[in-house]
């Protein structure tokens, strides 16, 4: 009897741990979703996703949402539509403290509502943006804003976050985006596009775009399944292509 209780106790401890471990690797080990290999720099465009320790130590990594299907699908679209020659055989994951990230001046940050940084990452993101890097923040909604805004202000206390209008060059860098009306794919809230200009000067380049109440990563991930509306998926791709072309020209 005592032996049985001992086994139950061991199971009670191990089960949650195994469950958490399985969740933590969600997407990276699931069938058909094998992780992409990190590509060594060779001058070609490579999709870069930023890794960070999620707020609150969640067992959901957050930064890896939609990985790798979103980038895989996006690279196919980018290759098909534009003259950019992206890497189709892989995408990269770096932290802001990783020196390699500086070889890839466009980076995608998913779930910035859970974004945290240590001192090295803080310095890394400052250097990255100041030198000329461009950040795409995506997949956050509602109260996630507060953490995103706090982290941004922590990194760039002098760079104001402003709401972007349709007339911005970002929305005409490849596709002419006719309307900014979009909904979050999961909760339907109205999307708002924010950005920050270098030196807070609208005549200068945008250093980041934030898809608040939006999740273009989700649209791209499920674009081969019909799970989300095709029209909105189209808009998501158009935005993503525009972001990359803008980042490579401005």
């Amino acid at each position: 009897m005592k032996r049985r209780w001992t086994w139950l106790a061991v199971l009670a401890v191990l089960l949650p741990i195994l469950t958490i471990a399985a969740q933590r690797g969600r997407g990276r080990r699931s069938p058909g979703n094998d992780p992409n290999p990190n590509m060594a720099y060779d001058g070609r465009f490579t999709f870069v996703r930023v890794r960070f320790e999620p707020l609150g130590g969640s067992f959901d990594l957050k930064w890896d949402h939609d990985y790798p299907r979103a980038e895989n699908h996006f690279m196919k679209i980018l290759d098909e539509l534009s003259t950019i020659r992206p890497h189709m055989d892989g995408s990269n994951i770096h932290t802001f403290s990783d020196p390699e990230i500086f070889k890839f001046p466009v980076a995608y940050v998913s779930e910035p509502g859970f974004w945290t940084m240590d001192e090295k990452e803080l310095q890394g993101v400052r250097d990255y943006v100041t030198k000329g890097g461009f950040l795409i923040f995506d997949d956050f909604t509602g109260e996630h804003w507060y953490n995103f805004e706090a982290r941004w202000r922590e990194a760039f206390p002098n760079l104001r976050i402003v709401q972007l209008e349709k007339a911005n060059a970002l929305f005409d860098s490849f596709f002419r985006i006719e309307s900014l009306e979009m909904q979050h794919p999961m909760n339907g809230s109205a999307a708002v596009f924010f950005g920050a200009y270098e030196d807070n000067d609208p005549a200068k380049r945008l250093v980041m775009i934030a898809n608040y109440n939006n999740d273009i990563g989700d649209y791209m991930e499920f674009s081969d399944e019909g799970f989300l509306p095709i029209s909105l998926t189209n808009e998501a791709y158009k935005l993503a292509v525009n972001y990359v072309v803008y980042a490579m020209t401005h």
Partner: protein, 761 residues
């Protein structure tokens, strides 16, 4: 030596050089040689018999001496003569030309000025050279700096600001055309700085003209061939014009005598304000040293830079311690078209690098998809609306072009030819960037544009493998203005050594023979290197090739500090170099400096909007200096299409701004300003040591001679044999020349002595 020659052979070497040898015997020449031959044979036969018991060597020596004696006697009996044309006394004129330039005031001959030597030689009729000439010739004295004869050579002021020695000789010979001119005597220090005067023919051409006239020129070199103690700003190499806020590299050559090892500051000033300076250590005596000084070009307009070193005690010439150079700082916006075949970070960061530069406008045409273009930085909605320009007028409106990763097949054959003409005919600058669509990898081999590339595209097959390379400046690269990425030479070198590697996808292995490699790419730790950046002239314009795809890494790389401006500086300097001196439709050429009262020649090349030369334009303008203005009207030169020439005489010293406007039916174009500095020339004080080389060359080319002042009176004796003027042919006996007698006596005496020693007499 010449005296000994004259003693032995009766006449001076000049006589033998100009005359011909002959014989004037009283009996037939053949009879003399027959008798001489017989006597010589008898002598040889006598000694060859060996009857006197002589050794064979003695037999040979005695026989030879007898033959020499008989031969000398026979030669004298044949009555040799020197046949030569000689000037007839008092029937010929000799022109004496005095170099009366300022350099003749330099006191380097026996602690006295060079002019004193001239006065001693030709100051009056009693002076040594004139005195030696007057018994045989009529003399006329001229000077270099002015026309007309000099009545009192001893009163010359020696104030000529330039020595146009050869052109003066030609002028004086022209003045004496038709007169029996036996020769010209020149008294000079040998400096001819006419080459620094715009429009003057070169020394070689003038020498040819002098030689063709056949009048011998006898030159007397006056001055010290080597100063004891002197320092001189020998040369300044600087761009003629730059864009505002460029960093200008002045290459200054300082030469010196007797100051080896001394440390001296070299200072650059603009209107009394010090722009830059450096301290140099003089190399060993007599050697020159080259230094580079960086100066900012922040003030717009014509800037007169003064480069100087302090005057040292005991210097022979102090005026050569400074030089001035005119630098035109332009504040205009140069329009450069950047054509890119694919969105890539090189484009973004290049645009960002020059974004804040008010003098460079980078207009971008990006092919973002097939037949889809993104235009950035255009002036209006029509610019580049149809993609890459299809007409010369549209393309040639730009002053520079950057060609990114865009394959040759993107362009039509006409567009490729236009790109080539953009450089070679329009004179624009073209920068080729690396990429998968560039160079041979982009299919440019054999296209109309392939000649423009500074690399040999066919030297290796296309290969887009990625190679990581470290950029290492070549020796010429360290001197190139585009590669000055630090505030000093050492900082620039250190910066280049610390930059992270870049990547290339172009298999370039060598530059073209006429190109200059500025950067080499080293793979890994070397030792192999391939050209990474090269430049070349291509027709009227210039081309730069940069075979990497990611200079932006020098901005973004983790090893690059956030505040580092290497990438920005490099791109700005590359583009500024690219558009430096790109001609306008009216392209004015004027000399950098001119003397007061001298006519300033101005020429202009006039083109239409397609940069095709136009001959029927009315080209007018003005040269303005302060309140004074001289009108200018240029006429078509006829020699070349589109070339117009004219001149103006500046009324006063100062920097004159020349602007021209061409007018033709339906089209008017105005030139960019050209600047001419009008000031008293100081050329006389540079390279002021005696230049015997030119004087010797003039003498040699014309059949005259070069003399030092102590031997100048020999001119009178050598000029007798001048072939020009009124001459008479004379036969001068040589049978009685001392050399013949000496040979005869030596041969006979030697034979007698030898016979005595052998007991034969």
């Amino acid at each position: 030596m010449e005296g000994l020659f004259e003693f032995l052979l009766k006449y001076r070497p000049a006589a033998f050089a100009k005359g011909s040898l002959g014989f004037s015997p009283v009996v037939p020449l053949w009879l003399i040689w027959l008798v001489v031959g017989a006597l010589a044979a008898l002598a040889v036969a006598h000694y060859a018999r060996g009857a006197d018991g002589l050794r064979r060597t003695d037999q040979a020596a005695l026989g030879l001496l007898r033959v020499i004696a008989v031969g000398a006697l026979g030669f004298a009996l044949a009555r040799p003569v020197l046949v030569i044309a000689e000037s007839i006394a008092q029937r010929n004129i000799v022109a004496v030309v005095i170099d009366d330039s300022r350099s003749m005031r330099i006191a380097d001959v026996n602690n006295g000025p060079r002019s004193k030597v001239v006065t001693n030689l030709v100051g009056s009729a009693d002076s040594s050279l004139l005195k030696s000439l007057l018994p045989r010739y009529q003399t006329r004295v001229y000077r270099v700096s002015a026309t007309g004869r000099v009545n009192d050579p001893s009163a010359l002021p020696y104030d000529g600001t330039k020595t146009r020695l050869l052109s003066s000789l030609l002028r004086i010979e022209d003045e004496l055309a038709g007169a029996p001119l036996a020769g010209v005597v020149v008294l000079s220090d040998g400096a001819d700085n006419s080459s620094t005067t715009g429009g003057s023919p070169g020394i070689t051409e003038q020498l040819l003209s002098l030689r063709s006239r056949g009048i011998p020129v006898f030159t007397v070199g006056i001055g010290s061939p080597r100063f004891e103690r002197d320092v001189e700003i020998a040369r300044i190499d600087a761009p003629r014009s730059v864009l505002r806020n460029s960093t200008v590299l002045l290459n200054v050559v300082v030469s010196q005598r007797g100051l080896g090892g001394l440390k001296l500051p070299v200072v650059v000033e603009d209107s009394g304000r010090i722009l830059g300076s450096t301290t140099i250590t003089m190399p060993k005596n007599g050697e020159a040293v080259q230094v580079r000084i960086r100066v900012p070009a922040s003030e717009v307009g014509a800037r007169l830079l003064r480069v100087h070193v302090p005057v040292q005690a005991g210097e022979m010439v102090s005026e050569n311690n400074e030089r001035r150079t005119l630098l035109v700082v332009r504040d205009q916006r140069e329009k450069v078209l950047y054509v890119e075949g694919e969105p890539r970070f090189e484009l973004k960061f290049a645009r960002r690098a020059v974004d804040g530069d008010p003098n460079v406008q980078l207009v971008t045409l990006l092919r973002s998809a097939r037949d889809k273009f993104l235009r950035i930085g255009v002036d209006d909605s029509t610019e580049l609306a149809a993609g890459f320009p299809r007409t010369r007028e549209e393309l040639f409106a730009y002053r520079g072009i950057v060609l990114g990763s865009l394959e040759a097949s993107f362009f039509s054959a006409d567009q490729l030819r236009m790109l080539s003409d953009f450089v070679s005919e329009r004179g624009g600058g073209l920068l080729f960037l690396g990429g998968r669509g560039s160079y041979a990898e982009g299919g440019y081999v054999g296209t109309p544009l392939s000649d423009a590339f500074p690399f040999d595209l066919a030297a290796a097959p296309p290969d887009t493998a990625v190679r990581e390379l470290r950029a290492v400046p070549t020796t010429l690269g360290t001197l190139h203005p585009a590669l000055q990425i630090g505030p000093s030479d050492s900082a620039t070198a250190a910066r280049w050594a610390s930059l992270p590697p870049l990547t290339s996808v172009n298999a370039l292995v060598r530059a073209k023979p006429g190109a200059t490699v500025l950067l080499n790419g080293v793979i890994g730790e070397g030792p192999g290197a391939r050209p990474l950046m090269a430049v070349q002239r291509f027709g009227r314009g210039r081309v730069m090739g940069l075979a990497v795809q990611d200079t932006w890494l020098w901005q973004m790389h983790a090893d690059i500090a956030v505040a580092d401006s290497t990438h920005e500086t490099l791109w700005r300097q590359m583009l500024r170099w690219l558009v430096a001196d790109v001609p306008d439709r009216v392209d004015v050429v004027a000399p950098e400096e001119s003397g007061p009262g001298e006519a300033v020649s101005v020429s202009a090349t006039v083109s239409d909007k397609a940069y095709l030369r136009v001959n029927g334009a009315a080209v007018r303008g003005a040269a303005v200096a302060g309140a004074s203005a001289s009108d200018l009207s240029l006429d078509w030169s006829v020699d070349r299409d589109g070339e117009y020439r004219g001149a103006f005489v500046p009324e006063r010293p100062g920097v004159h701004e020349v602007t021209l406007t061409s007018t033709m039916p339906g089209d008017t174009a105005t030139s960019r300003s050209a600047f001419v500095r009008v000031a008293e020339p100081t050329d006389e004080y540079f390279g002021a040591e005696l230049h015997a080389g030119l004087l010797k060359q003039v003498a040699e080319e014309t059949g005259g001679g070069y003399y030092e002042p102590e031997r100048a009176t020999d001119i009178a004796r050598d000029m007798i044999y001048s072939p020009t003027g009124s001459t008479v042919v004379k036969k001068n006996d040589l049978w009685d020349m001392p050399l013949l007698l000496i040979v005869l006596l030596l041969a006979l005496g030697g034979e007698w002595v030898l016979r005595r020693r052998r007991g034969l007499a």
